[in-house]
């Protein structure tokens, strides 16, 4: 179904090849997972298969790529898109429309199918993917899992023989990830050829036929499903891959040093026409790293915003070591590292960024902080030219520089490989030593096991459970 013969690709303005002499043959009905560290070339392969390279992204392409026995160099991108359906990582930008109904039929409208045929197919998709409750809705108001379900249905509506997914679970919770797994299983049962580029491997362990492991643009090894299942988490970490055996992950219990300081939150509530949040007051050791968990739509981000005083309708009050913070002071005492970090980088160099946050700019102190997170060499770089993980560290540094005591991280490890996730976890351990209380909104059990001291589980705007890993219940 798919043949890559001696394929090399180099992006324009880059000195290194993104792919080097790739040979890969995928037969019809196979499910293939492309895995490897960030920048290993797995996304580049997906772009070759849906025609974005060479038709939209410039660069130097060598070798032959054949889809269904046709050379893609001889096809137009709309002809390629009849053979493939592509689901992308970011649900915010893969939709052309704002309402779900138009989005579902967008592809078949473009291909000019007759109206009755389009409506038939739409009805079929609604049935297959159980979309009835999602019809006539604004796409911006759906949860991440719901958006990904619409995306899957709208790329399958023209019945392409090949489905390509590029890190489709980066923004999904565990339940939505499992649902995505079911959709892939359904396509597999229909005999579709499926190629997935992915960091999270556990939900694919029983679906994928082969795991293609890439390193620096080359195929290093191809694991069969059986080989993959027998590998231990440690062996996967050696390759820079994420764990498969999530049940083996154990949090460490001895990290949290109880120095007697406490963080107390008074009962926090917030109402809005379609959501209510009511969090009973709680009490935590200070400093600590706490994970906020719960399904998409459980109110994790709403809680974080309300807690930091960003939400106009909520009035938080918390105490750190018996010092009371009311709403205004809450904003001053807290900081957030957003999922799209580029929203919070304002200046033209990393050093200036850190100085901007300081109440009294002090260059020496700023350089010390950079050294603390091992980022000294970045000091003159432009923040927006950094990689995702580096941007994240700059945002964390500005929060430390501003002497904030409470920090919120919004899904910091979604889409990170093992190596970068590990770096982030180390960074959290440094923050604990710096006397910070960090709340991490996350779906990542590996990161929780590596660096969190406990979890706060939310469900439907309420607090379901607080656990501290040193076995002491709160």
């Amino acid at each position: 179904m798919i043949q890559l013969q001696n394929v090399s690709f180099q992006y324009q303005y880059q000195s290194k090849k993104a792919l080097n002499a790739i040979d890969l043959e995928i037969s019809a009905g196979e499910v293939i997972v492309l895995c490897g560290k960030s920048g290993c070339g797995k996304t580049t392969i997906t772009r070759l298969l849906n025609g974005l390279i060479p038709y939209y992204i410039n660069g130097e392409l060598q070798g032959t790529i054949r889809l269904a026995n046709q050379d893609i160099q001889a096809m137009e991108i709309h002809e390629i898109s009849k053979l493939t359906g592509s689901v992308f990582q970011n649900p915010k930008t893969q939709f052309y429309n704002i309402d779900t109904d138009s989005e579902l039929v967008f592809t078949v409208e473009n291909f000019g199918l007759p109206s009755y045929e389009i409506l038939n197919r739409k009805a079929m998709m609604v049935e297959q993917f159980e979309l009835q409750p999602l019809l006539q809705r604004n796409l911006f108001h759906l949860s991440g899992g719901e958006k990904q379900r619409i995306a899957c249905a709208s790329v399958a509506i023209h019945n392409p023989p090949i489905i390509i997914l590029d890190e489709p679970t980066a923004n999904l919770d565990n339940e939505a990830t499992a649902q995505l797994g079911e959709m892939i299983a359904f396509w597999k049962s229909q005999g579709k050829t499926i190629v997935i580029s992915e960091h999270r491997l556990h939900y694919l362990q029983n679906l994928a036929d082969r795991f293609v492991y890439l390193e620096d643009g080359e195929i290093k090894h191809i694991f069969t499903q059986k080989e993959m299942l027998t590998m231990s988490n440690e062996a996967l970490y050696q390759l820079g891959l994420r764990a498969i055996h999530l049940e083996e992950l154990m949090p460490q219990h001895d990290r949290l040093l109880d120095q007697g300081a406490r963080f107390k939150l008074e009962t926090l509530s917030y109402f809005n026409h379609d959501f209510q949040l009511k969090i009973e007051g709680f009490d935590l050791p200070f400093p600590a790293i706490m994970a906020i968990t719960g399904h998409n739509g459980a109110g994790k981000s709403t809680f974080a915003k309300a807690l930091t005083g960003l939400n106009r309708k909520a009035s938080p009050t918390f105490h750190i070591n018996n010092v009371k913070f009311r709403k205004k002071q809450c904003v001053q005492a807290s900081s957030m590292v957003m999922q799209d970090v580029h929203h919070q980088l304002f200046t033209e160099s990393v050093l200036a960024e850190i100085l901007l946050s300081m109440p009294e700019p002090n260059e020496e102190l700023a350089l010390d902080l950079l050294a603390l997170l091992g980022a000294s060499e970045l000091k003159d770089a432009h923040p927006l030219a950094l990689s995702g993980g580096e941007k994240q560290r700059v945002a964390i540094l500005s929060a430390i520089a501003a002497d904030k005591q409470v920090m919120i991280m919004d899904e910091p490890t979604s889409g990170l490989d093992y190596h970068h996730m590990r770096k982030f976890a180390n960074c959290m351990n440094i923050l604990r030593n710096q006397n910070k209380l960090v709340f991490i909104i996350t779906h990542d059990p590996e990161m929780i096991a590596l660096c969190c001291d406990g979890t706060i589980e939310l469900s439907q705007g309420m607090m379901k459970d607080i656990t501290l890993f040193n076995k002491q219940r709160v």
Binding site: N50, G51, L52, Y55, Y56, E76, I77, H78, S81, K82, G85, S86, F88, N90, K92, T93, Q94, F95, Y96, N97, I98, D99, D101, S102, V105, F106, T107, V108, E109, N110, F111, G112, P114, S115, I118, L119, F140, S154, V155, H158, T308, L310, V331, Q332, S335, M336, M338, D340, H342, H343, Q344, L345, F346, L356, S357, L384, S398, A399, A402, K404
Partner: protein, 235 residues
Amino acid sequence: MKQWIQIDPRTKLLLTVTINIITVSAPQNGWFLYILPILWGIPAILLLLYQKYKIASYYLILLLSVTTFQYTVAPYIHGVLFFLSLGIISISLRLLPGIMMGYFLLSTTSISELVAALEKLHMPRGFIISLSVMFRFFPTLSYEYIYIQQAMAFRGLTGFSMLLHPVKAMEYRLIPLMVSASKIGNELTMASLTRGLSAPNKRTNVSQLQFYLQDFLLITTCIVVWLIFIWEVFL
């Protein structure tokens, strides 16, 4: 929410153009003393019909207070105050109805309806695609803007300190916004290319457009207003 009265997107487009041009440029005398209030009222009525009560009532309250002010207080004040109030009155009365009509168009029309309307009007395909992308862009950018505002709040870049440094305030908002815009634009283009947007065949559109009685009424109103406008201003 069930919509019990539908207005064709073509009618909405015509109304938006008409209200924007006429309320801005018509003289406030003769026939227009009667026509202008009708044009001011149309966006309010449409917003109410589409159950946008909150924004409709804000608009109506503003409209009523400004006109009351114009006839009761304004004649008795002089000097700087007079020019200031004259400025506020003319901006609200001349620009606001057009803005409200534009808001109504944007918030009640789906992209595919708009595309269908423009196709029926035989607009060129390149124009339709770029306009529809703009339609998609506005709400996205407004969400991005909210995030940037929040990030600035955490850095203490709000209120008074920003008023003192207007250039910095602009820079800190615009740079992240531009980065977002180019990133989103790029990803949107990639997603739509993989879904056949560039296919050369004739595109189907499942949105069924149909004129009803209310459309004919509104269109007739527009035509009459345009005829009077041309008669009064040019002849």
